[in-house]
């Protein structure tokens, strides 16, 4: 059932308005905080108010103006889009609280928070995009809006990373535009509201061109190897930005784009028939393992997290490429599972950096005595990535494995096990160092990060546990993911 509902554009509009207010009248600290927090909460409220309807299969739509004759700037909140929007709205609230604490005293706060809100606005716009052109519009806006955040420190290193970021993402964007042009030329539509708009009659050559352009373009932001180069460099950004880039906005936009391409542009039946997903599956599996291997050797905390992100994102790609309902469930829920766990880790890294000035793994010995709550949150996130039951990551692995068995790709199980061990290999040493390796002779006292940082970290960690334990509770994100899967597979 489709319902025209203004809430679909209200959600991105709220953050857009918030950005405008911050830019125009954001120099007063108190007003700025008030706007940001109220906008974030309001938006979460708007998105959540659509959740009950969405769970029952209602699709909210809103057509704005026609962008070109025939293609509108149109929004459509289906289950998949709602899932992404709900995750990003929730995280916006938490990250805003964290960022307010983290950025205190920074010179360019107005610019920072303005573009921050813009990014979130475009993310929701992206989640609700009804057609590829609207999607592309927000995708490119996201690139532009994150650039000032990446180079926030204005150091030569930051500028260099910014250039690299733009080079990668804009080239990816160009590929997406090529793909969209070909789709429109071939089918006369760009709608994302169907389980696939292409058909096998277009010929393998055209289909391959579309697949490579779209998936290749989105894979840049999804940091699938070998297109991941920008992500570790972009670590020069302030920690809340890294958290945003890694958990919510940028990388998920890429992953979400791949999901849309596979489920709504091609459709699982067509991809099953033409078999393009198989190489993608191999590339994703390779990325999962290779990125984890690289992560083991990173000493800088944020770089280690960056490679872990690269590895984790390919779970989503792998899940999508397996083309079975269980694997699709895994791919979709992993958007949330990875987001909350990874944002916890980044919050921890930022809190440690702000409180103690430490940025490298080897300096962390005994940090657990000083910041027990913070490191506790880190441990929760680490266990989730390893795939312990009761934590969010377990749900992903369970369903991904089921999906692999369903499609007969047994080797994926081996990848899962190897990945779990690799995750343990690069996260558990941090936990071990923090709690069991107190430097001898020093007297350690509890000196936690400031409350804004600590609270948001703990909330994010709590979500990891909630997501891992309540999957079957009705109304949780998991059921939304299942609704999306039912639509995609026509069940």
């Amino acid at each position: 059932m489709e319902v025209t509902d203004i809430r679909v554009i209200l959600a991105p509009a709220i953050s857009l308005l918030c950005a405008a207010l911050v830019f125009v009248a954001g120099s007063n600290k108190h007003w700025r905080r008030f706007w940001m927090l109220s906008a974030a909460t309001l938006k979460l409220g708007v998105v959540m108010s659509m959740l009950p309807g969405s769970l029952q299969g209602t699709v909210y739509t809103w057509d704005m103006i026609d962008f070109t004759p025939g293609i509108g700037l149109a929004f459509r909140a289906d289950a998949l889009g709602m899932f992404f929007a709900a995750v990003s709205s929730t995280l916006w609230v938490i990250t805003t609280i964290y960022a307010i604490g983290y950025m205190t005293g920074d010179e360019h706060r107005v610019r920072f928070f303005g573009f921050f809100a813009l990014c979130v606005s475009t993310t929701v716009g992206l989640a609700f995009a009804e057609n590829l052109l609207t999607f592309f519009l927000f995708y490119e806006m996201l690139t532009i809006c994150t650039y000032p955040l990446v180079i926030h420190d204005e150091t030569p290193d930051a500028l260099k990373a910014g250039r690299k970021y733009l080079t990668y993402t804009l080239i990816g964007g160009a590929f997406i535009m090529v793909g969209s042009v070909i789709v429109y030329d071939a089918t006369g539509t760009l709608s994302l509201g169907h389980p696939g708009i292409l058909s096998a009659e277009l010929g393998t050559r055209t289909l391959l061109l579309i697949f490579v352009s779209l998936v290749g373009g989105f894979a840049v932001k999804a940091a699938v190897m070998p297109l991941h180069g920008w992500l570790p460099s972009a670590m020069v950004a302030p920690t809340p930005v890294s958290a945003l880039l890694h958990a919510v906005a940028v990388v998920k936009a890429g992953a979400f784009g791949i999901l849309r391409t596979i489920y709504n542009v091609f459709g699982v039946d067509l991809l099953e028939e033409i078999g393009f997903a198989v190489p993608l599956m191999w590339i994703a599996a390779f990325t999962i393992l290779a990125a984890s291997l690289v992560a083991i050797f990173q000493d800088n905390i944020k770089r280690r997290l960056a490679f872990s992100t690269i590895s984790q994102l390919s779970y989503i790609v792998l899940g999508a490429a397996l083309l079975t309902p269980f694997a699709a469930t895994a791919a979709i829920v992993h958007i949330a599972n990875q987001a909350f766990a990874k944002i916890t880790m980044f919050f921890v890294a930022g809190a440690i950096q702000r409180t103690t000035g430490k940025t490298n793994v080897h300096e962390l010995a005994g940090i657990g005595y000083r910041m027990p709550w913070t490191m506790g949150a880190f441990t929760v996130a680490a266990l989730s990535f390893i795939g312990m039951p009761l934590f969010a990551g377990f749900i992903t692995k369970w369903y991904l494995s089921l999906g692999a068995l369903e499609s007969g790709e047994y080797w994926v199980l081996a990848v899962m096990i190897a990945s779990a061990m690799l995750n343990a290999a690069y996260f558990l040493p941090i936990v071990y160092l923090a709690f069991f390796k107190a430097p001898p002779g020093t007297k350690l006292r509890v000196a936690e990060a400031r409350p804004t940082l600590l609270i948001s970290t703990l909330v994010a960690a709590a979500y990891v546990i909630v997501l891992g334990t309540t999957a079957e509770v009705p109304g949780m994100p998991f059921s939304l993911a299942q609704a999306a899967v039912h639509f995609v597979f026509g069940m």
Binding site: F67, L133, L137, E154, L166, I171, M177, V178, V181, L209
Partner: protein, 498 residues
């Protein structure tokens, strides 16, 4: 009001007459000149508005001065492509307003000569309007000369030390192209005995030999390519556009190069209708030159530090888009190319006016010197950023839809290579715009005093911001110009049977 038939002659002769009268009305005080020019352009703009409304509602129409029927009398012809006069009037009006303070500020310009500046500017605008709406080949040449000669003089007007040289280079190339156009008009008259475009189109088709028609076509095409500054005959453009006073740069880059494009469209209208030649070869040449222009324009721009020189090179890239669109000769690509004539005019005028404001306030014109200016002139720099995003063609700005349409056209014409060239060429353009944005916002100033300057006066700031907002509006409401130009594109391509 829109039905009043005499708007069409008025729109041509108001600025021309106004130009001639400018020195006279400002005999007593030179300060009258800009207000006079503004008044003249206001009248012209009103006329243009009614004409555009009329063509939108009833399609192309003609005006026959004295009631003489073509081909014996002259004809003014207004079709959808002629609607480009709306942009000419808009940018012309804003350029006059902008000049109010800017020209007074140019130290090298003797104050008593300022009325002549406005006279030349009006002459230039009038020449362009005439060129766009004439239905006769010889008048086409006459208006081409009016606008070219005034443009040469305007380039020299800034009085900077290389201004004369730049103007002379422009004059040399311009004269060659005018000559080529004149010769081919002569040939066409010789073989058909007519100068009326519609009449010529039918008569050329009835000739025994196509060779003279082909020769005329080649010379016309080359002549207009020079005016449009297509690679490799672009060499006059960068210096001329960079040295001219900033409002003139906006007019030259936004509008005058488009004259070459409109000229090409007129040639196509004649030759497609006549069906005398297969234009496939010319189309391929244009598409290739367009693609090369996109890349080479961007390539040269990357190495410029002078902000206006950079903008000048990016004009070459954008002309490449348009010419590629025309050459691909599919419905989508012609629509995209024609709309880009409008949109690029707005975008480039935004950029040049904003750059002029920076130069006016700081006296610096290189990116290195201008570092940090974003903090002291935020509004102007926002305008530049919007212009930059538009010109790269990132949605939802004005540049995007044209790019989208031309790329669609490339795939429709089954020449996907050019679709790739277009989309990836645009990325190349982004490299140098990102340098600009970096310098303005994210790099430490070289000259500390740059943080002390204030925004340009309102007469300069308002036109810049207005144009910048149009860059966004034309992107969001892009379907209006696209739908507007569609019948004209369909008519142009109808003889091809597609």
């Amino acid at each position: 009001m829109a039905a009043w038939p005499h708007w069409l002659p008025l729109v041509v002769f108001a600025p021309l007459l106004g130009a001639v009268l400018t020195p006279i009305v400002s005999l007593r005080s030179r300060h009258v000149a800009p207000w006079w020019a503004l008044a003249v352009m206001s009248v012209t703009s009103v006329a243009a508005l009614f004409l555009v409304l009329r063509v939108a509602s009833e399609g192309p129409f003609s005006y026959l001065p004295g009631g003489w029927q073509p081909p014996y009398g002259i004809e003014l012809r207004f079709d959808e492509f002629s609607a480009v006069i709306s942009v000419i009037c808009l940018i012309g009006w804003l350029a006059v307003l902008y000049s109010l303070r800017y020209i007074e500020w140019l130290r090298e310009v003797p104050k008593e000569r300022i009325p002549y500046y406005y006279a030349l500017l009006l002459l230039n605008l009038g020449g362009m309007i005439g060129f766009v709406v004439t239905g006769d080949l010889f008048n086409l040449f006459v208006f081409l000369e009016i606008l070219s000669l005034s443009a040469y003089a305007l380039v020299a007007f800034s009085g900077e030390h290389i201004a004369e040289m730049a103007a002379f280079k422009y004059l040399l190339m311009g004269a060659i192209s005018s000559l080529l156009v004149l010769f081919s008009v002569g040939i066409i008259f010789g073989i058909t005995g007519s100068l009326n475009m519609a009449d010529v189109a039918t008569r050329i088709g009835q000739l025994d030999s196509a060779a003279p028609a082909a020769l005329a076509l080649a010379m016309l095409a080359i002549g207009f390519m020079v005016k449009a500054a297509l690679f490799p005959v672009h060499i006059w453009l960068p210096d001329a556009h960079a040295i001219a006073p900033s409002p003139i740069s906006a007019v030259l880059s936004g509008l005058v190069v488009k004259v070459g494009i409109i000229g090409l469209i007129r040639v196509y209208q004649i030759y497609y209708t006549s069906g005398v030649l297969d234009l496939h070869t010319l189309n391929q040449v244009l598409v290739w030159l367009g693609a090369i222009s996109i890349v080479m324009g961007a390539f040269f721009a990357i190495f410029q530090d002078d902000i206006k020189l950079m903008l000048a090179y990016s004009t070459i890239s954008n002309v490449g888009y348009i010419v590629m669109g025309l050459g691909l000769s599919t419905n989508f690509s012609v629509i995209g190319g024609s709309v880009h004539v409008f949109n690029h005019a707005l975008i480039k005028a935004t950029l040049f006016l904003a750059a002029g404001a920076l130069i006016y306030r700081t006296g610096y014109r290189t990116l290195t010197d201008l570092r940090g200016i974003g903090r002291s002139m935020p509004l102007t720099c926002i305008a530049i950023s919007i212009g930059a995003i538009s010109i790269v063609g990132i949605p939802p700005t004005a540049g995007f839809l044209c790019k989208w349409y031309i790329a669609l056209g490339a795939f429709e014409a089954d020449q996907p290579f050019f679709g790739f060239a277009l989309i990836f060429g645009a990325l190349f353009i982004f490299i140098y715009y990102i340098r600009m944005v970096n310098a303005f916002y994210f790099q430490a100033p070289v000259h500390p005093e740059i943080l002390e300057v204030t925004e340009a006066p309102l007469s300069m700031l308002a036109p810049t911001l207005f144009l910048a907002s149009l860059c966004l509006i034309m992107g969001i409401l892009g379907r209006i110009p696209l739908a507007f130009i569609e019948p004209a594109a369909a008519r142009l391509l109808a003889p091809l049977g597609g």
